[in-house]
Symmetry: C2
Subunit: 284 residues, 2 copies
């Protein structure tokens, strides 16, 4: 096709890193970007954001309501392709399979269902919205201290140099060698560059905090094996509040559930992942 | 191949309904069973159980640790096939793509990651288990009244005639036209036939309760669009305790998170789905 969807003037490193180039036949070129790598591996959420750009490029609906991802291999900062197949295009929802392929091998397998979302500020009694579409209910939001009382970690090269997280100090005991025994993590999140949150940034936000098992003292690389996230509302500008918890750890597996709430107080994204407990360093 | 994995003496309707017949080349015949249908549509969890049988038939690991499913179309009680492709077979985890196909069209798209689980009763300090594998932590279990204080619904033909659920009366107000305004559902679950829970029954249990939005008065058919579930432990014999909650409803979408705990008190499965709010009946 030769048409590019790379913005003519990419405004942020994040938009550059997640840009895709349609190659025709459901194939898209992507360039996993070492500016978003952690220890040589490009962050999974950033790769998912690239894959979502490929999906939304030809989607009949505007938002990635449900994205399931199975992480197969570590993505290196080298050229890759997204291979896209639409499985169903319905009036309410459409579903595509998208595979990230690098050196001929699948790296991430995703299935994405797109749809419409209620505008967070809309009046549900407007017009002819029916009772089902008008039903609105939300659980309790997470509690975070004011951002002024939160703590930043030193920015390094790669992912942590791009993402600004202000941590709830109550979830940072592990950093000082005093994990508090609770597998939770909370913080305010934004890009360090000026850029409002959208579906692509939400894909990163739902897996951007340190693993919740750090709170149990299991500090180490904890690879995500499978992650599903749901976009629930269109985020308002401003920092996101992200809170993650866990329900069970055993056999080397742990789950992590994260929610992202926008600056206007709306629940905008939910995720659950299952990951491997990081290997703790042992004294030699 | 001509080899059948249908048990020689199927002991329950559930085992018959979820049997698969390998056809070679990664294809398996399945027969969606009207004994597990609700209003002409075969229950999604029962179909997932069939697909998991196909996956585990050739999996290097014994348990479906992570199953993500996107529901594309309604499955009818007619012959179907599972098309299976292994994407990665690793030492800790293996991942397959499995598609349920009926009349040449994809009906359910799943990706399944298999692995090993800690035996729920195992001593984590046994042998040379390392620190990561030995880490064990579990959140608070759901609270249910004793089964003797729970309430059954009248069994009908189809799915509800196969599954025995004893509901926490606190979550059944909608049945008497008095929804209590909380999107929760809890109950004890087993097959009506004598059969211990396993991975296949867990696939059903995590989506067997009535939709949580019934508790908000939105009683009606609420189709699951996407569901991911994680198997966390090997279930002990006996009834499962299943508890489901919700975090957000808007734009006609709701999420539902369910947990299944076994009779020995272990968290054995977790799910989250996103579904469409059922249309309420209106006065003419």
């Amino acid at each position: 096709m030769g048409v590019t969807v790379i913005p003519e003037r990419p405004r942020t490193a994040f938009d550059e890193a997640t840009a895709v180039l349609p190659l025709g036949g459901g194939r898209f070129a992507v360039q996993p970007d070492e500016r978003f790598a952690i220890g040589g591996a490009v962050n999974g959420g950033v790769l998912i954001a690239s894959m979502l750009r490929a999906v939304l490029h030809s989607s009949p609906h505007p938002y990635p309501v449900a994205t399931s991802a199975h992480f197969l291999r570590v993505a290196e900062p080298k050229r890759a392709e997204v291979h896209l197949t639409w499985l169903k295009e319905g009036r309410t929802a459409a579903t595509a399979r998208a595979t990230l392929v690098q050196a001929g091998v699948p790296v991430i397998e995703t299935v994405v269902t797109t749809g419409a979302l209620a505008s967070a500020g809309a009046d549900p009694s407007d017009g002819d919205a029916d009772a089902a579409a008008a039903l609105s209910w939300t659980g309790e939001p997470p509690h975070l201290p004011p951002v002024s009382q939160c703590r930043s970690l030193p920015a390094a090269r790669g992912f942590t140099g791009q993402i600004d997280i202000r941590f709830d100090p109550a979830t940072l005991g592990w950093l000082d060698g005093q994990p508090d025994g609770t597998p939770e993590m909370r913080g305010y999140l934004s890009l360090r560059e000026e850029r409002d949150p959208d579906a692509y940034l939400l894909a990163v936000a739902v897996d951007a905090l340190p693993p919740v098992v750090f709170g149990l003292g299991a500090v180490g690389w904890a690879p995500t094996v499978q992650l599903t996230w749901h976009m629930r509302n269109i985020p308002a500008p401003g920092m996101l509040r992200v809170a993650a918890r866990c329900r069970h750890v055993s056999g080397g597996w742990f789950d992590e559930e994260a929610e992202a709430w926008d600056a206007a107080g709306h629940l905008v994204a939910q995720s659950r992942q299952i990951a491997r407990v990081g290997r703790r360093r042992r004294a030699p």
